[in-house]
């Protein structure tokens, strides 16, 4: 079957080789194109490597301060209820600096869609440890590896959200073609919840950051499969 880049991907992206952000962005571009809602969408960008989608993807974008997407999306939806409002964010922004805003949007069940790229580090600033950093993981600020005693336990926000009254919650990844297909279905479902007025949806995507993990891109994919997925299980957790 013929396959080519959706026209919304207007130019080459700025991500490192093998970066998972760019794999997600293309999937989102495909879904927006297939649902024919490119012109009906306003994205809300976090700060971080993830924000570079706005340079290669032709979609209207608002950039609030780092981590404040939950609050910004609520405001955007109030002003433009006719538009699809979604956010592309990093784990550092959505689950650390912006955790309050993210959870507030979820507890209000705002009719918006949150895509969180979890690469277990603050990538753009040099790969520092985040609340999502894995047990034992080396980072530029946990050079002997993360320990629960010294740094606290790895924070699993998807688990935390499972009892909330929200429309959709899923965790997926981009490690192979089968997982990419599942991720694409989750993206579509999350946007459909917003279309149907069902409320808040969050899709967490486990994405590789080969640069800060110090791995080749294929090794980074295997690291997700072998070390992240057993700890952060994939699946759809809420589907109302």
């Amino acid at each position: 079957m013929a396959k080519s880049a959706p026209s919304i991907m207007k130019c080459e992206n700025m991500f490192c080789a093998g970066c998972g952000h760019s794999l997600f962005d293309r999937l989102l571009g495909e879904v927006l194109t297939e649902m024919d809602i490119v012109g009906e969408s306003i994205s809300c960008s976090d700060i971080g490597c993830n924000h570079m989608y706005q340079y290669s993807m032709a979609v209207d974008t608002v950039v609030p301060p780092h981590g404040k997407m939950g609050a910004a999306m609520a405001a955007m939806k109030k002003v433009r209820p006719d538009k699809y409002i979604f956010s592309i964010a990093g784990d550092g922004g959505a689950y650390a600096i912006g955790l309050g805003e993210t959870l507030s949007a979820a507890t209000r069940n705002d009719n918006v869609t949150f895509f969180v790229m979890n690469n277990t580090v603050y990538a753009m600033t040099g790969g520092q440890m985040a609340p999502t950093t894995m047990p034992g993981q080396y980072s530029s600020s946990s050079i002997k590896g993360r320990t629960a005693e010294e740094h606290g336990r790895t924070f699993d926000v998807v688990k935390l959200m499972q009892n909330l009254e929200i429309a959709y919650l899923a965790r997926c990844t981009v490690t192979n073609a089968a997982e990419m297909a599942k991720t694409k279905r989750c993206i579509k479902k999350a946007l459909e919840k917003q279309r149907d007025g069902k409320g808040f949806s969050l899709v967490e995507v486990l994405v590789p950051c080969p640069t800060n993990w110090g791995l080749t891109p294929p090794e980074a994919m295997r690291h997700i499969e072998n070390d992240l997925v057993p700890y952060l299980p994939l699946g759809e957790y809420i589907d109302r």
Partner: protein, 70 residues
Amino acid sequence: MQSETMEKVKVNEERCKGCYLCIASCRKGAIRLSGRTNKRGIVTVAVDQALCVQCGVCYTMCPDLVFEIL
């Protein structure tokens, strides 16, 4: 019927950043290093059109939109 040598996948070598996820993903072993270097200084990839079955895995796994399945 498609001939073994017809072009099945177009490769935009200038976009390649050298992650080689395509080589790791192609189950037919149809993708290898081309031996050519693009403007970024990256050794690019080439598709053996005879081995290719147009499954589209390279398109799916390429973060840089190098491949077009024809």
